[in-house]
């Protein structure tokens, strides 16, 4: 079908409505004529990116849909007591006001990390978590930053103490998961302890080794439950419908109101996105990600001497993790995600491969890429256009699609306009604030 404004199927009165709704921009469309006509094959490709899919279940987390877990997770997400020094919460780096990221190039928790904070928008729709996919569930993801020394630097023993002694937390936790470990256990626990196998000399690691296996098990159970509550909340961070979705509905139905949802520039950008730009090859589906890992040949960043090993290392960590979908803490150790683990194996193209980020709400979480190397969306588009300083393809199966696009300045801004049209309405605003504020 041919589209907006030039389509014979769109009656003149409806066109009039569109003009009324968006005024000058539609006039611009009419003046530009051809640029707004999408071919049948373009239309088909565009409609692969919409509508949004329903929230996928997470059988590995039996609390994923529990309203009490969502409420508890919401409070914990903003609770700095989960960190070692009591000053950092999940929201410190995943700030709702900054697209659930932090606006920084590299994440800054207790120290500066080696990767950029990824946005949490639509995180429930990811298949693997972290830039390198080293977790295969959202709750398993949430465990890491809490105890990671450069991030929140907390400890599971301190968290078990907190849950056992804070009256409100103890009550809410108990309602969901049963009573947390009581006074007997807390009385014999060290102040802090956590497994840090990469830091054998760390006091917390030594204290962890000194604990009885049963105590370790009980304490780990508390951390896992806390993470499952956090995940139940984070699953609700859904971008919702965007101008692009309204436009696509208009494209499918011929309704002018929908067709008017994208500016002419965004429509031209959309055409590039699904056409000669090749963006859709990896940024596919309703969330604009194939959920896979690719080496796009980013130049080495300041301070890097070799590329981030990416998926190659992440996959090994995932397969070894006691918190993966097949592990003892999973609520579906024989489920589909566990079965998938049996057959995951590193491939030559796994080296330096980084997860394709989704693009919904992408305009809210600058800077970009896994080290935040690109300050703006324009910088990202320009990199794919020129491939300036891209690392040459080695023997690791670099994406052959990544050839310079030589876009014009106008095309670059058109693509950015399209990316900006992917910002959604968001969920209940109360979910985006600290509870009680």
């Amino acid at each position: 079908m041919i589209a907006p404004l030039r389509a014979p199927a769109v009656p003149a009165v409806v066109l009039g409505l569109a003009l009324h709704l968006v005024g000058g921009s539609v006039l611009a469309v009419a003046a530009r004529g051809e640029e707004t006509a999408f071919s049948d094959s373009e239309k088909k490709r565009i409609l692969r990116h919409t509508p949004l899919l329903p929230l996928p279940p997470d059988p590995t987390n039996r609390w994923a849909e529990d309203q009490r877990a969502i409420r508890l997770g919401h409070r914990l997400f903003f609770d700095p007591r989960l960190s070692g020094a009591g000053d950092l919460s999940c929201a410190s780096c995943h700030d709702p006001a900054l697209g659930f990221a932090d606006g920084q190039r590299l994440a800054r928790g207790r120290e500066v990390a080696t990767r950029h904070t990824p946005s949490l928008w639509n995180v429930a729709h990811h298949r693997f978590f972290f830039w390198d996919g080293r977790a295969d569930s959202l709750w398993a993801q949430a465990l890491f930053p809490i105890e990671e020394p450069v991030e929140m630097d907390g400890s599971r023993v301190a968290i078990a103490r907190l849950v056992a002694t804070d009256p409100e937390l103890r009550r809410d936790y108990g309602e969901l998961f049963g009573d947390p470990p009581g006074g007997d256990l807390v009385g014999r626990l060290p102040e802090t302890a956590r497994p840090l196998p990469g830091h054998p000399g760390h006091e917390d690691q030594k204290a962890w080794e000194a604990m009885a296996p049963g105590d370790r098990q009980a304490v780990t159970g508390v951390l896992v439950n806390v993470a499952k509550a956090l995940a139940a909340y984070e699953r609700r961070l859904l971008s919702g419908g965007s101008p692009f979705d309204r436009f696509a509905r208009g494209l499918a139905s011929g309704q002018a109101e929908g067709l008017a949802a994208l500016s002419p520039a965004a429509q031209r950008g959309l055409r590039l996105f699904v056409g000669e730009g090749g963006c859709r090859v990896c940024h596919s589906g309703p969330f604009f990600s194939d959920g896979d890992f690719h080496d796009v040949g980013l130049p080495l960043d300041e301070g890097e001497t070799s590329p981030d090993p990416g998926r190659l290392a992440g996959l090994r960590q995932l397969l070894d993790s006691p918190y993966n979908a097949a592990g003892p803490w999973s609520d579906a150790p024989l489920g589909a995600a566990a079965r998938r683990l049996e057959f995951l194996a590193p491939r030559s193209e796994s080296y330096a491969a980084i997860k394709t980020p989704g693009l919904r709400n992408v305009a809210l979480s600058a800077p970009y890429m896994h080290r935040g190397q690109m300050a703006t969306l324009e910088d990202v588009v320009r990199f794919y256009s020129t491939r300036e300083n891209a690392r040459p393809a080695g023997h690791h199966g670099r994406e052959s699609i990544l050839q310079p696009l030589d876009l014009t300045e106008e095309q670059i801004s058109d693509l950015v306009a399209f990316l900006e049209s992917l910002t959604g309405e968001g969920p209940d605003p109360a979910l985006l604030r600290k509870p009680g504020e």
Partner: protein
């Protein structure tokens, strides 16, 4: 049992077997192979006539396969039962091994899994760990290796 009796029995069974899960299959080509006829006719685990498949590149073999679950899912592990038949004879190839992979030609990548092949009988294989992680066009390849020589069959699968 005489030669002609075996042949007629096989043809009768083959003729009424379409759609059945287990079927004895032979064909006229069997009469050309003297020694093979002294063996019981091969019992195939499923009827290649109603499965998906096709010939390998040189036509030396015909591949028949059926997925489990029968509709290939997106994003979840599934398995394939694969039969390797001698081209033109419909007889399972006892000495063959296979390698199975799948790629998305439009996206330049393969599956996120590495499937495992288990030989479950003469020319019969169970391929577990297939996973199509996204919709679109997939190319399934089955390489048949016999006596050190490989021949490939390629099948296009559009995952909606």
């Amino acid at each position: 049992m005489g030669r002609s009796e075996i042949l007629s029995l096989a043809i009768v069974l083959g003729g009424c077997a379409a759609g059945r899960p287990v079927v004895t299959v032979s064909s006229s080509a069997a009469s050309e192979a003297g020694p093979a006829l002294e063996e019981p006719s091969a019992v195939l685990p499923f009827d290649p006539a109603v499965a998906w498949g096709g010939p390998t590149g040189e036509g030396t073999y015909r591949i028949a396969y059926r997925p489990d679950p029968s509709t290939m899912p997106e994003g979840e592990v599934f398995s394939l039962e694969v039969l390797v038949l001698r081209g033109g004879s419909e007889r399972a190839v006892p000495g063959a091994m296979i390698e199975v992979d799948a790629r998305m030609p439009d996206h330049g990548h393969g599956m996120i899994t590495v499937p495992r092949v288990e030989r479950t009988g003469d020319g019969h294989f169970l391929v577990d760990g297939m996973l199509f992680q996204m919709p679109g066009l997939w190319e399934l390849t089955v390489d048949v290796v016999e006596d050190g020589v490989a021949e490939r069959a390629t099948f296009a699968i559009e995952l909606e």
